[in-house]
């Protein structure tokens, strides 16, 4: 466990204070979601899959946002949804980045047939629309959370590969890489210590965008009933479960849908700010 220096906190606070209003909003939104995800069992009034009332109860003091189609508390499900939906999307994105950026670095560092082979495989995988490919693979491997994570990560790593390869190729021909090669450093050192640190800002911004994309894709699949399966609380399937209420002008299905939309907006705002700050533009 590293001890956080007071200086780090102070410079972090200064960065936060200098951020534009939109980025501050985004950061606050993300922080709230993360807190809800971490402290879900403490925050939620009931258990995740606990049936506490009758079906579709209206908003009351006992059930702040009513109950769903099985009589489970909506507030509880929303809070646990933060944990499950974000957790699964984050795991998937991390996995997609591990595969995609490793393959991209390999292609850029070695070039030649390694690059050709990897690039052509990725091209072919990208020529099938992602949602359709995901549906095809899910029907073959079944709809469990591990297969969902692996399938989406594999499909999304193609996008990460493209970007990593493009920026790493620029870095791979620079003088300091040449120097490292002449010094006799191994390929692993060159990839990890020379190229990676120089493309990290681009990858960080891309991580935010990919997370958004993966998060929306998984929510979409869950909404279709082929993603995260019950009784796990998840925003996409919550929309599906309560969708019939919209015909009675009840906004309950819009709450989990709005929760998804708000987090995506927050992440996009922060990524915009990060890209703007990294490009060194002043407005």
């Amino acid at each position: 466990m590293t001890v956080i220096q007071p200086g780090v906190i102070r410079s972090g606070a200064r960065t936060f204070a200098s951020a534009p209003l939109s980025a501050k909003f985004g950061l606050v939104v993300i922080a709230l979601y993360v807190l809800a995800a971490i402290f879900a069992p403490q925050l939620a009034p009931y258990g995740e899959a606990q049936i506490v009332g009758s079906q579709f109860e209206p908003w009351s003091s006992a059930f702040w946002l009513g109950t769903d189609n099985l009589g489970r508390d909506m507030v509880t499900r929303l809070i646990y949804g933060a944990r499950n939906t974000i957790g699964i999307a984050l795991t998937t994105t991390v996995l997609a980045f591990s595969i995609g950026s490793a393959a991209g670095l390999l292609a850029a560092t070695f070039g030649g047939w390694t690059d050709q082979l990897l690039s052509r495989v990725m091209d072919v995988l990208m020529s099938i629309p992602q949602l359709i490919f995901a549906l095809l693979l899910l029907s073959i491997f079944g709809t469990s959370i591990p297969s969902l994570i692996i399938i989406i990560a594999a499909l999304d790593s193609t996008r990460v590969f493209r970007l990593t390869r493009a920026v790493a190729i620029n870095a791979a021909v620079s003088d300091y890489v040449e120097v490292a090669r002449l010094r006799g450093e191994g390929s692993l050192w060159i990839m990890g210590r020379e190229i990676l640190p120089n493309i990290l800002p681009t990858l960080t911004a891309e991580f935010g965008l990919r997370f958004c994309f993966v998060f929306l894709l998984i929510s979409g699949l869950s909404f279709l009933g082929v993603g995260i399966q019950p009784p796990t609380a998840d925003w996409g399937s919550m929309v599906r479960d309560t969708a019939t209420l919209i015909a009675y002008a009840d906004i309950t299905p819009l709450l989990p849908a709005g929760a998804i939309a708000l987090l995506a907006v927050g992440v996009n705002l922060v990524v915009d700010w990060f890209l703007h700050a990294a490009s060194g533009l002043r407005d």
Partner: protein
């Protein structure tokens, strides 16, 4: 410099190659299926003889490459095989649904493309004003909002509160054209909202990047009105990138229909593939994936060819 027919020919060949590889991948998918279709369909209690007879009947006892060839040959003649769940011919299952899906995607395109071009030109005309910023906000919303969020918002306001449009898009072969238009109004509107902002922003960007050119300066110095400069001088040169973005968004529409069709219970191809995934009816999923993927590849190819053909520099080879 290479001539246009040659470049276009190369792209078409590349497209055909891609389609062939896609068909290989989709076919290979079924081979990874845990268990066997025969045992899956006949159940655990089937005798080995029944299973063997069934496998022979389906051609499952043939080697892999022969099965692939007969599968591909069948598809090229319009035979997709039969559905596992109800034993119906998949071609018959797909045809009316494909028509419905194309009808929906086309309606969405007819709403969104003119609006996007108009909005993009307006945004370029009034750049760096509140209109511009409003478009940025809309773009952010449209890339962040899940399709079902937009769909249920539209249902809440236009179907439930205002009562103008139906929230269920129930159509069949006997539905008249006008009723059909009425039924697809809300799903088409949802899809338009999803793709509009991106097209609008790309139109604006393509025009604005051209505005720094000297011939634009000349037109302005002649005393031309700003909108005339944009429409007569900047727009023709921006057409290639705009056409590209429009076709790419159409390709997106083709797959974006899946969620929207489920929300509005619209009997299209998207609805069919989702149902079949839930039932694990793999031949139907395969056939639908192939149709979706082929449309996607063809539209991307069209975008490629359009941007080659519309590039003025390539039209007059030196």
């Amino acid at each position: 410099m290479t001539s246009i027919p040659k470049i276009v020919g190369q792209r078409v060949a590349l497209g055909a190659l891609t389609l062939w590889i896609v068909s290989l991948i989709i076919f290979a998918g079924i081979q990874f299926l845990p268990g066997d279709i025969a045992t899956e369909m006949l159940g655990q209690s089937a005798t080995p003889e029944t299973v063997a007879a069934f496998r022979k009947n389906l051609g499952l006892d043939l080697p892999l490459h022969l099965r692939y060839l007969s599968w591909l040959g069948g598809i090229l003649q319009g035979h997709f095989g039969t559905a596992l769940s109800n034993g119906r011919e998949i071609g018959e299952l797909i045809a009316p649904r494909l028509f419905n899906t194309l009808f929906l995607a086309l309606s969405a395109a007819l709403i969104s493309v003119p609006l996007a071009l108009f909005g993009g030109i307006v945004a370029a005309l009034y750049r760096n004003t509140f209109i511009d910023r409003a478009i940025n906000v809309v773009t952010l919303a449209s890339i962040s909002f899940p399709e079902f969020f937009v769909a249920y918002m539209l249902i809440l306001f236009l179907a439930v509160h205002a009562g103008i449009l139906p929230s269920l898009s129930d159509v069949d072969s006997s539905t008249s054209f006008l009723m059909r238009l009425n039924a697809v109004a809300l799903p088409a509107l949802t899809l338009s909202v999803v793709v509009l902002a991106h097209m609008m922003r790309m139109t604006r960007t393509s025009i604005v990047t051209l505005l720094g050119n000297q011939y634009i300066e000349t037109a302005r110095l002649k005393g031309m009105a700003e909108w005339r400069v944009l429409v007569r001088h900047a727009l023709p040169n921006a057409l290639a990138p705009i056409a590209n973005v429009v076709v790419l968004n159409l390709a997106y529409l083709i797959t974006g229909v899946v969620v929207v069709e489920v929300v509005f219970v619209y009997p299209g191809l998207g609805q069919l593939i989702v149902d079949s995934v839930q039932k694990r009816d793999i031949p139907v999923v395969q056939a639908c994936s192939l149709v979706f993927a082929a449309t996607y590849v063809l539209l991307n190819l069209t975008a490629d060819i359009l941007s080659i053909v519309m590039n003025p520099r390539l039209m007059h080879p030196k």
